[in-house]
């Protein structure tokens, strides 16, 4: 039996539409993605990683081509239904409020709750599960302004997990974190993929961590988009093209990027 694609893009062009012609950032992006994968999106600053993730999560329309979630065109999925299939963790910092960690994670249940947003037993179970998976049960009654960057990032991941979607998209979840928390976030996400068969897509600048952890890599360069497993991409020498070679080189033996001396 052929595996169903959880996410698919065909001939996708991303960018911004303007009255005087479109400003496109990347063209001809096509990929297919099956369930239970951890995907890392790599590329230089400003190459369009966020734009791609925003397009995939319907926050901005594609200039051309289509995105399919669960084999359905993104355009024809209602907002509520999409919220049950895909959750996001964004780079933007949430506004300070008096929401507690528990309430924040509970907001992830909104696509399922009634018009008043009342939580039922199942919602409570999912929230507790999310808090435990991410390891923040102990801080669940803290207010969000009392949290450190690392804690807040974990809370946002737990919120996405509570949303109970088969797809989680994270835009640079490890930015602003120390090396300990970076690895912790990667470990949490990896465990999620393993335990829940969810598909996790994250953009990151932690290329070496990504090379160690990801099931699949997406590489974005000036004129190209490549997807594949680490071995496939190494064989095609695609990783060499990720950065200008004057400062950093890919070492195929250690399978890591190294400083070019």
């Amino acid at each position: 039996m052929e595996m169903k694609n959880i996410l698919k893009a065909s001939k996708l062009s991303i960018g911004y539409a303007h009255k005087k012609g479109n400003y496109s950032i990347a063209n001809d992006i096509s990929f297919e993605l099956t369930k239970g994968k951890m995907v890392c999106l790599l590329g230089k600053n400003g190459i369009g990683k966020s734009t791609l993730l925003r397009t995939l999560s319907k926050m901005q329309p594609p200039l051309n081509g289509s995105v399919f979630v669960d084999e359905t065109n993104l355009n024809s999925i209602s907002e509520t239904l999409l919220a049950q299939k895909m959750s996001v963790v964004l780079t933007e910092r949430i506004p300070e409020s008096q929401l507690t960690v528990f309430e924040l994670v509970a907001l992830g249940r909104q696509p399922y709750t009634n018009w008043l947003g009342k939580l039922n037993d199942q919602d409570y179970k999912k929230i507790q599960y999310a808090l435990e998976q991410v390891g923040i049960s102990d801080i669940q009654s803290k207010k969000n302004y009392e949290l450190s960057d690392g804690q807040l990032q974990k809370v946002m991941i737990a919120r996405a997990l509570a949303q109970d979607t088969s797809l989680i998209i994270l835009d640079e979840p490890t930015a602003h974190l120390d090396i300990h928390h970076k690895i912790e976030v990667f470990n949490i996400l990896k465990a999620l993929v393993k335990n829940t068969k969810k598909t996790v897509i994250l953009s990151t600048h932690e290329v070496n961590l990504a090379l160690k952890m990801a099931d699949e890599l997406w590489l974005m360069t000036e004129n190209d988009f490549k997807s594949g497993t680490q071995e496939e991409l190494i064989a095609l020498k695609e990783l060499d093209k990720l950065f200008p070679q004057d400062l950093i080189l890919f070492n195929p033996k250690s399978k890591q990027f190294e400083i070019n001396n």
């Binding site: 239904l81 999409l82 933007e92 949430i94 506004p95 909104q110 302004y145």
Partner: protein, 330 residues
């Protein structure tokens, strides 16, 4: 809190420039005979309507302040940031100040309570329509805030020009209106007032859930399946309706709308709108009743402008609470 509201309400009705003995006061409420029939008239036709309008104004302004603060995710937003009250002021200014300038048609209309209400409603409705048209073309919520402020300053400028060409009497009339007033409303007017507010409040039940998700920012709210456009429209229309009606009947009452949401959040330490909305309404009503009682200057025959009291009394409380708790949050 509800008990406190009832207590404050009783106190408010009991106090006034004419002293009515407590026993007699209770007798009036129980509809039994009283020593002085004019006392009954004062309580039934003056004090009770006034206290009810205080409750309506307080809860309405509190709620619309909360809505604006959440929608714009800005703790400085208040019910009047959309320029609604400036629009209402412009309407009233045109009626009171423009009468001589335009002459003829306007001056023949007697300046009554109703005509002021209507002028002010028309004014706020004009600004509301302008804001909504702008909203339709604009995606960024923060721009709406700035556009509202701009409409406000345009209205203020026109009022300045009108004032410049007006007589002293007309100016005085306008300034008295801008002091705000809770009295002068008949039972009939109160009925209209209350039913418009009540209908507006009903719509809010629909947006409790979206409002909570807006605490995460618009992008997260959308990712949770919230219809952002619809939420924005409901919140903006309800706020305009509430503030428009309040300004029409009671004048531009300052401060309550900004302060009450903060007080409520500080007291209840929550951001959940299912608790906040009713709490803000009740606390707003309580605060307004207290302010009105102070404005009566008990045992004296003077009545202070309500607008001055709300700020003089309310601002120090908010400052004190913020200094004590160290945190401004949504």
């Amino acid at each position: 809190m509800l008990i406190l509201l009832v207590l404050v309400w009783f106190l408010n009705i009991n106090l006034g420039s004419i002293h009515i003995p407590f026993k007699q006061f209770v007798a009036i409420l129980l509809n039994s005979p009283v020593e002085n029939e004019s006392w009954r008239y004062i309580v039934l036709h003056f004090r009770i309507p006034k206290s009810i309008s205080a409750i309506l104004v307080g809860s309405g302004l509190g709620i619309s302040g909360l809505l604006m603060q959440t929608l714009f995710r800005n703790p400085l937003a208040g019910p009047f940031v959309l320029g609604i009250s400036s629009g209402a002021s412009l309407g009233v200014a045109t009626l009171l100040l423009g009468a001589s300038a335009i002459g003829g048609v306007f001056s023949s209309i007697a300046v009554s309570n109703w005509s002021i209400s209507i002028a002010s409603s028309l004014g706020s409705f004009m600004v509301l329509s302008a804001v909504l048209i702008a909203v339709k073309r604009i995606r960024n919520t923060m721009s709406i805030l700035i556009i509202g402020l701009m409409f406000g300053s345009i209205s203020a400028a026109i009022i300045n020009v009108l004032s410049y060409f007006s007589s002293a009497e007309e100016l005085q009339q306008f300034i008295f209106w801008s002091f705000g007033s809770l009295g002068n409303l008949s039972w009939e007017e109160l009925g209209v007032f209350a039913s418009i507010l009540f209908i507006s409040f009903l719509f809010l039940i629909l947006v409790i859930k979206p409002l909570n998700s807006l605490l995460l920012g618009e992008n997260y709210a959308r990712s949770l399946g919230i219809n952002l456009k619809q939420t924005r429209y409901i919140v903006l229309i309800v706020t305009s309706l509430i503030t428009g009606v309040i300004t029409a009947f009671s004048g531009p009452i300052a401060f309550i709308g900004l302060a009450v949401p903060h007080l409520t959040k500080l007291i209840f330490t929550t951001s959940n709108h299912r608790i906040l909305l009713p709490a803000v309404a009740i606390l707003g009503a309580i605060l307004m009743l207290i302010c009105d009682s102070i404005a009566q200057v008990p045992t004296s025959e003077y009545t202070l402008p309500i607008n001055a009291v709300t700020s003089l009394f309310g601002a120090p409380i908010v400052i004190w609470l913020l200094v004590r708790k160290h945190k401004t949050v949504l």
